[in-house]
Amino acid sequence: VTDEVRPHQNPLDPDRSEVDLGEDAVPTRGYSLTPLVGLGGSAGSIQALQRFFDEAPVDAGVIYVVVIHLSPEHESNLAELLGHHTSMSVRQVTGSIKAEPDHVYVIPPNHSLSAIDGHLGLGPLHSPRGRRVAVDLFFRTLADSYGPHAVAVVLSGADGDGAIGIKRIKERGGLTIVQDPDEAEFPGMPRTAINTGMVDWILPVAEMPRRIQDYVEREPCLDAGGTSTAVASTQLPNPALDAAVEEVLAHVHTLTGRDFADYKRGTVMRRLARRMQVNNITELTEYLSYLRTHQGEAGALLQDLLISVTNFFRDSPAFAALEARIPDLFAGKGMHDTVRVWVPGCATGEEAFSIAMLLLEHARTLETPPQLCVFATDLDKDAIQVGRTGLYPATIQADVSEERLDRFFGREQGGYRIRREVREVVLFAVHDVLRDSPFSRLDLVSCRNLLIYLNPAAQHRALELFHFALRKDGLLFLGTSELVSDESNLFAPIDAVHRIYAARATARIGVPIMTGTTSLSIAARPVEGYTELPLSARSSRLAPARPVLSASEDLATPTWAELHSQLLERFGPPSLVVNPSQNIVHLSETAGHFLQHPAGEPTIQLLSAIHPGLRGALRTALFLAQEEGEGQSEPAPFQVDGTMQYVTIRVARADDLAPDFLLVSFLTSRAKEELQTVDTGSVSPVVQQLEHEVASLQGRMTRLNAQYEESTEALSASNEELQAVNEELRSATEELETSREELQSINEELTTVNQELKSNVEELGEANTDLHNLMSAGAIAIVFLDLNLRITRFTPSAVDLFRLIPADVGRPLSNFNHRLNYPELEQDAREVLAHGNQREREISSGDAGLMYLARWVPYRSIQGEIDGVVLTLIDISELSRARQELGRSHEQLTEALAQTEEARRAAEQALKVKDQFLAILSHELRTPLTPVVMATQMLSRQEELSPRSREWLALIERNVAMENGLINELLDLSRIAHGKLHLQLEPTSLHQVIRSAIETVVPDLTARDQKLTLELGAGNDLVLGDPARLQQVFANLLTNASRHSAKQASIEVRTSRSGPRIVAQVIDHGDGIAAEALEGIFEAFRQLQPGTPSHSGGLGLGLAITRAIVQEHGGRIEAESDGEGKGAAFRVELVLKEPTAA
């Protein structure tokens, strides 16, 4: 088989018709090519692509081609984007290039991409109606060029591009993969692809590369041989393999009822191999067990074998050619006639609809168009169902012209639906061309791309069927790679290139007996002998009659051969031709002389029709001819044209020209002497009598036989027709059934709608009840007015106010004599109607003391238009009273507040005065102290002073200092009382502060001969504090400790760290503090020994000030003592500035 030679290049070569037809459908041409993986998606699929190439092996020996929808206005950096995700070379296609394995090619913007014979080519991009079809276009070329080596992957995308391309891929034996729609960002493209039913795998992107690699690697080692050229095309006998295939087909037959015995073995093998590859199986026997154990695999295999693939107007030139022939179909048809078309193998109905469209288009041009009827049949029930639904993906725009889309399709969600007008023309039915009875009296049979899958015998049978089904001159439309063998005298080519044929007016042949369940076979079975007649014999029996017919009627100038035979007939000896039953089929001009019709029915039985005088001679000759092939009788005397002549009868077998036909010639001679004959009179009367009886019996038997055969044939023909009619009725019934189902579903829908409406009504009722209750429940007067201010509705509370009764609905509100002091009522209403704004007004009622809030709100209809106005009257008498009271309370409160404010101001003023007084007091107290201090100090610097004088001077100094301390304490206390103890915070070393404080008390300690122990244990002593004030704290504590301790006693100062705080303790072993005094020791003006303030030399303010300072620093101070005479400990805690530091 030469793959490169397409059948249509030599359509008249009869030898090719049986072998080559199939090879085009499943091209072997792809088998030596490198696998090509086409990835299609929209622009949004880039992420999915990146994930794909993240996983894709770089040495799988596969070509990757990426076709996605790119913006036509921008340069594409797709190659770069993908290049980051694989180490394979990624490049944008710029012109025709050879595709190399392990390379990635991406589509450039504004172009379409095609894959032809290992090359990638660019073409212009046209988008019908702005739709994107780049993926479909590429997949189609990929399918045609790479066949089973094509892998099509449909990724995320919003529209339905790729779905049609995928069908083609599948048809050509390629692998189809779709991204799991749940994973895809835009599931539109995957969903549409899945809906075609042509998808092998639905996978997440990340899994695809591995599965593709497995699939590609699997192919070369397949044992089934379906893909290996040797087995597939030459079909070498391999009994084991054949047996396995038979078993697989038998299994499919059992499970699905479909018999593929008539399908070409090569086709079947390829489909099997594909299923094995898809399922990752290498041995056919293994596949058989897989088939048996996996539910659904039989269905999948069936799907693959049926290959329900077609497009609208597939092979448009062929359709254009057909369109030109359409008027022929209508010729001579009137209003009550029907143009009948049969589309066997219609798959999902595209072709049937395409033809229906052509018919409708022509019918429109006629004044009285005939009825139209297109029978669309297929084996595949699912496909038929798709056709019945008549909904096709939006991508059919690529195949159907815009004009036809508008005229014959309705746009719907999810695609285009065929219009009722077209749909009603087409009748769908499940039907097996080879098993079920055919339709009849058809004007056109369109059977495209079905024959290619059938073996030659089945092809032949199908053509005979079509011939039977077509009326005379009816058209047969075949696929581009199918043709009618020239040997066949059934069809005459009309357009050989586009495969349009006309049924020849061949004498009617019998229809072959169908074996399908609906067929004639059941009716024909009792007629024994009928089925035994070989078809070929039946046709050849009548075939010889045809040339004579055409010679006498059609041909004005006979050919030389015909002239010769006519001359022979005229001038040769008289002769006649009989068939094997010895019935006369043809006579020469003068042969009639030798015949003599006996009485009774006319007969063509030779032995009956022959002149009785010649019967004996004829018998002899016939006998001899049967024995020896040729026989000649003795001359018999015979009266010809009044003269006695001798006739010799010669019988010759026609042999190969017409098997079992005989030529009987009559040779006459006047030479009596030559003809030594037996005198007829010498025959005994008994023999003559017997002979006569035998002849008459034989004649009767022959007649009966003939009658019987004729009636059988007539019967079977009627039967056929009845059967066809029945088939049509069945289709009609199915149609009706479909309509009934449609009606049922419409009914169902109506029921649902009704149900919904009912529940809506109920809800409405409830809402109405609620509204009613709401209006009665609230003691609020509401009146609804329409645009003319007529009352439409009111609440019970409004009855009193307007003196309404239920009958008042519909009367204008102004008619009512209401009890309100509301002269502006109507004016307000009209204003709200005009402007649509709300309005509120407080009005009083004629009844004493009643106040109402009148609120006007526009009544808005559901559409939001103002349709009236709603007046609400709320009794606010209580509110109004309460409001008045509230006003009074408010006034009182304001007054009280003012008084309080005044009091506060006075207090503040007093405080200020007190502060000033204190400041001035301290100033005045300090002023006289200054000269005392100075004078004392100047005196003490006098050298000639006596020791006693010095003592006294020291005494003065001490008391002055004490005096000064008292003044300071007074001022401090005043500040503390106002919270005016302003600290000058800075980072301060507490240890430094303590040391400074100690320095100030050194004179006291020295005077009393006391010993101070300093133990500064805290590592970190930095606090945020006022050093002067802190020093004051410790000076005070130390002074206290010194004063309350005996002479020579010891005093301890310790610091330590306690968490984020530093603790400083001043501990003495002196007077101690009684438990009851301990509590209030930090209060101002506290002295341990009341009545003797001078003892400790202070006002008792020291500790109060100390605590205030510590607290102002955020620290705390505590005093501890075990009791009087047991010493005391003061503990100061301050927060460290950096508590974390060591």
């Binding site: 301290s922 100033h923 107290l925 200054t930 000269p931 100075m934 100090q937 100047m938």
Partner: protein, 125 residues
């Protein structure tokens, strides 16, 4: 041997003023005493620049702050002396230009320290 300073003492309290003057003079300084803002201004006008001015704040005819702020003659190192010892008072003195604010009663050690500072200022180049 510390140099003799020209000192202006402004103090309305007679005893204090008398003691201050006699102490300063006993140390060999030249002292001019004033009892009021007016006298101080006159002294400044008449005697020219001083090395040190010790001034009370509360004076019969004004405040020591105003004196310092209005004078055109340099009173030298100026130190305030006052019975008001609140933080606000001290801040006010420093703003007015006093180098120091001594709270009364002040003793001789404080005056000695001020004198030492004035001497240092005088000797400074």
């Amino acid at each position: 041997m510390s140099p003799s300073l020209r000192v202006l003492v402004v103090e309305d309290h007679g005893d204090t003023r008398m003691l201050l003057v006699s102490y300063l003079e006993s140390l060999g300084h030249v002292v001019v005493a004033a009892r009021s803002v007016m006298e101080a201004r006159q002294a400044l006008r008449e005697h020219g620049a001083f090395d040190l001015m010790l001034s009370d704040i509360g004076l019969p005819d004004g405040l020591g702050w105003e004196l310092l702020e209005s004078t055109t003659v340099s009173p030298g190192l100026s130190v305030a002396m006052s019975g008001f010892g609140a933080r606000a008072d001290i801040d006010r003195s420093l703003r007015a230009g006093f180098a120091q604010h001594l709270v009364k009663p002040l003793g001789l050690p404080a005056i000695d320290a001020v004198l030492a500072a004035a001497v240092e200022r005088r000797l400074a180049p």
